[in-house]
Amino acid sequence: MELDDLKSAWQSLNASLARQNELNLALLQERRLEKARHLLRPLAWGQGLQMAAGALLALASATFWVRHRAVPHLLVTGLLLHAYGILLILFGARVQALIGRLDFGGPVLELQRRLAELRRFYGRGGLWIGLPWWVLWLPLVEMAFVGLFGADLYLNAGATFLPLNLAVGSLGWIATLVLAGWARRHPSLGPKFLRVLEGSSLTRAQRLLDELESFERE
């Protein structure tokens, strides 16, 4: 069976398919605008919300550390949260920039590679954004207590509160990173764990990049 022998039959089949679907196009055109708005909304909102949250956190923490710059542990608390707020803004801006580079009218391999890079950045960025919360809740709670109630949690919660929670958080953070590294080195055992940790987007992105590489190499 030769491919070229089937070509004309395939083209006739497709021509017939296009004829049969002629009327559907009018319906699709009516629904197009609504669909376009629907598709754009979640993406725009998600990124916008994240950057807004980052800006709010950076602003609040800057106000906090400026006001308490004479007290070292409060200064550090404010600076840590300020840095995290800026990280959120930068992450959102980078994702927006990567989305802006997507051109669906570009060559298929190029667009698919850019989509995979976006997914990979989003997946890895998720780790950078998420893992710090193993310890970052401590400065956030401290800032909230000082800001809302005028009470310094670190000074009032006992001598072991901060070092103990810092130690537990740091251990959790390190253990998660070690487990992620183990999961990457053991493809037969690790994928489920990685999917939980990084989200499926990173796994899919890596699979897509592997496929692209294999397609170009063959």
Partner: protein
């Protein structure tokens, strides 16, 4: 271009090239509902990208790129499940039932199964080849060299021959 005001030029070009929409959707989706979603997604993306179309390539080439890019992403998002197209649904939609090889000539049914079994990028390549696009245009759509396209088509032909051999 304002989202609320699609131009006549856009509608005219889409109408002229609507066959591409259905060919690609048909190749990438078996389920009629997924196929309808895919056609809509492609249309949306063509419309959103229309202002970037600079006329450096033919509109059909550009539309093929968008259609294939959207279809590949759509398939990867696992929205398109490999559900068989039921005969009743096919009749209701006015589509030929391609999940059942009986209504198709033997060769075409075999080709359909062969296409269904291909990875998304190979599927794109074969689809363009079957549409009689020159190697240079296929290379332009996919982002390969024309020589690479010729090599890959040769391999696909060989695979088709090998798969056909035991059935004879």
């Amino acid at each position: 271009m304002s989202p609320a005001a699609p131009t006549d030029a856009f509608l005219e070009q889409v109408e002229l090239n609507r066959g591409i929409l259905f060919k690609v959707a048909h190749a990438y989706c078996r389920d009629p509902h997924d196929r309808e979603d895919l056609v809509q997604d492609i249309l949306v993306q063509v419309w959103r990208s229309f202002e970037r179309f600079d006329g450096r390539c033919k509109f059909s080439t550009w539309m093929y790129r968008i259609a294939l890019n959207v279809a590949i992403s759509f398939t990867r998002a696992e929205r398109a499940r490999a559900a068989p197209l039921l005969q009743d649904e096919a009749r209701l939609c006015g589509l030929p039932d391609l999940s059942d090889p009986a209504p198709l000539p033997e060769g075409l049914a075999f080709l359909q199964r062969f296409i269904d079994g291909l990875p998304p990028l190979d599927k794109a390549l074969l689809l363009l080849y079957l549409d009689d696009r020159p190697h240079a245009e296929i290379a332009d759509v996919l982002g390969l060299t024309a020589t690479h396209v010729a090599t890959k088509i040769g391999r696909l032909k060989q695979r088709l021959r090998e798969q056909a051999a035991p059935t004879r």
